[in-house]
Symmetry: C2
Subunit: 183 residues, 2 copies
């Protein structure tokens, strides 16, 4: 089973970090085949930022993401850019307060959570990326929450570890707070 | 100008970190177009680890590295795996104490430096990756040393910053200590 994931948002929302954590969680701590790619440049400077992760049980021969199965969007611009590429029946996960999926494609599953609002509740708006990872893990099952928790320390300064692990757990609890697929 | 770089070695030598630092240096601090890819899985568990970086002045349409222009190898196994892919006339940079390039291709430029030995001199064998980045910057000119220095803090714990910047400077001075292209 090969799954292609795009994590997208605006610059500064920590999507490259989120991609690195997801890749290490699946690759190092679950022994999956993983290819992770990030871009810097016009695309990033233009406002949208993205990290792509491919997770597979078998060696990955084609390392490029063309039609993602799962798309996380933390900004409207990123959503408008990447949602058209989502495969039919794919899963779109957005920040409910930052992204309007109205009049978006009807041939995909879309679900929205208050990632940034929850991050603001703990005083760290920047933690929305890790909250989103926690939710992504629970909704998609592509990676275990404990693997994400193991991957976080290698990627974050020690002083931010406690809050990141809290953010991960907040994200993990968001889907059960309501039916995940409201749309 | 598009340059394709592969940083390779054994697991634990910090090549993924080195790739991330190189990508951020060129992408964030020099405004270049950059795509960085890393793999986890059988390839990494098999002993060889690699990170690829593409740096370009123009948007990168094809994000995969096929024939690298520059190849860094910190292990013999990685060198034997990736050197055949180096483009004709490309540059191979190896750790002189860990990699034997004898009977390697004659249609490429090869040069060797004591990255790991220098890292051991400062009591941090793990710093060989950053030393190699410093040398790579000086020998290839693909990125400025100061951009690497700016990119390091985002990727390393604060307690390791001073030693990493020292390692970078050690690496930068290695080429002038002798003629860089001995072969």
């Amino acid at each position: 089973m090969r799954r292609e994931i795009i994590l997208s948002g605006a610059g500064g929302q920590g999507l490259i970090l989120a991609g690195a954590v997801l890749a290490e969680a699946a690759g190092v701590f679950e022994g999956k085949e993983v290819v992770q790619t990030q871009s810097y440049g016009i695309q990033a400077r233009g406002g949208a930022s993205q990290s792509t992760v491919i997770i597979s049980d078998r060696p990955i021969k084609f390392p490029e993401v063309l039609t993602p199965d799962i798309l996380l969007c933390l900004s409207q611009e990123a959503c408008e850019r990447y949602a058209p590429r989502l495969r039919e029946g794919g899963l779109l996960i957005v920040d409910q307060d930052l992204v309007n999926t109205h009049s978006m494609r009807t041939d995909i599953k879309a679900t929205a959570f208050p990632f940034t609002a929850e991050a603001e509740k703990i005083g760290r708006r920047i933690a929305a990326n890790v909250i989103a990872l926690g939710t992504l893990a629970m909704v998609t099952g592509i990676v275990k929450l404990e693997s994400l928790a193991k991957a976080i320390p290698a990627r974050l300064p020690e002083r931010n570890l406690a809050i990141a692990l809290e953010a991960l757990n907040i994200g993990a609890r968001l889907p059960e707070a309501r039916g995940a697929f409201s749309q």
